[in-house]
Amino acid sequence: MGANSVEFGFFLFFAVVAVASALVVVIARSPVHSALALMVSLVQVAALFILLGSPFLAVIQIFVYVGAVMVLFLFVIMMLDVRKAARVRFLRGRTVVPTLVVLVLLGAEMLILLLGSERFPASAAGGEGAFGTGTLKELSTTLFTDYLFPFEVTSVILLVALVGAIVLARSEAD
């Protein structure tokens, strides 16, 4: 019962933060704030993947989405409309109180996780073997045998995207 309610609490926390930051993505006036909120939302979804017992996908999510895609977004925002976007403030008026609230919440979360980590059993999330090598081994075996052809097609698509992005973004002069 204890592990269950802990898992449910974590699910609620991650889900609420994911939905709230997704709303910020749509509502925020500046694309920079949207990008940062999208980053928060994607990290929460990565945490949900861990709750669902697929840590590999969580790592991929962090690497590809938060690492590559969001940096690409921020880079293009910087290239395109940095002057307009950088001037818009996220909160108008006094910002000290909201900042303090967020800091206190994050600090409390860190403290709870640090002090109570030995009470959370690692196998509580996603059933047995979720964090072991078994699932990952099966996953990669299936990926490289039954899904080998889609895997190769994906690599070709990535190559085409790479070349296409370079061709599109190149200036006409050279």
């Binding site: 709303l23 993505v25 669902l52 899904y147 599109l168 973004a169």
Partner: protein
């Protein structure tokens, strides 16, 4: 365990927020980010079903979705940079040069 319906509800909520962003916002960058949100909600559903049915093929499809999303973003932002060079606007309403 958290019931499967909660994960599906979360995926649906994220998807609806993404659709709202695509339909309501006029900034191209935010429309693209809302697309990311929609694709990500699909991944939530895929991984939730994969976990609850004990079948990791859902995770494999999610890996493919992530890879295709990365290439989509690269191409879309390349088109955006090329577009900005010709027409200095980020507003989707102003971009009608491909109209027949």
């Amino acid at each position: 365990m958290v019931p499967l319906s909660m994960y599906l509800a979360l995926g649906a909520a994220l998807f609806i927020i993404g659709v709202a962003g695509v339909l309501l916002r006029r900034n191209v960058l935010i429309v693209l980010m809302s697309l990311e949100l929609m694709l990500n909600s699909v991944n939530v559903n895929l991984v939730a079903f994969s976990s609850y049915l004990g079948d990791f093929r859902g995770q494999i499809v999610a890996i493919f979705v992530i890879a295709i999303t990365a290439s989509e973003v690269a191409i879309a932002l390349g088109i955006l940079v090329a577009l900005m060079r010709n027409k200095a606007t980020l507003d989707v309403v102003d971009v009608t040069i491909m109209k027949g």
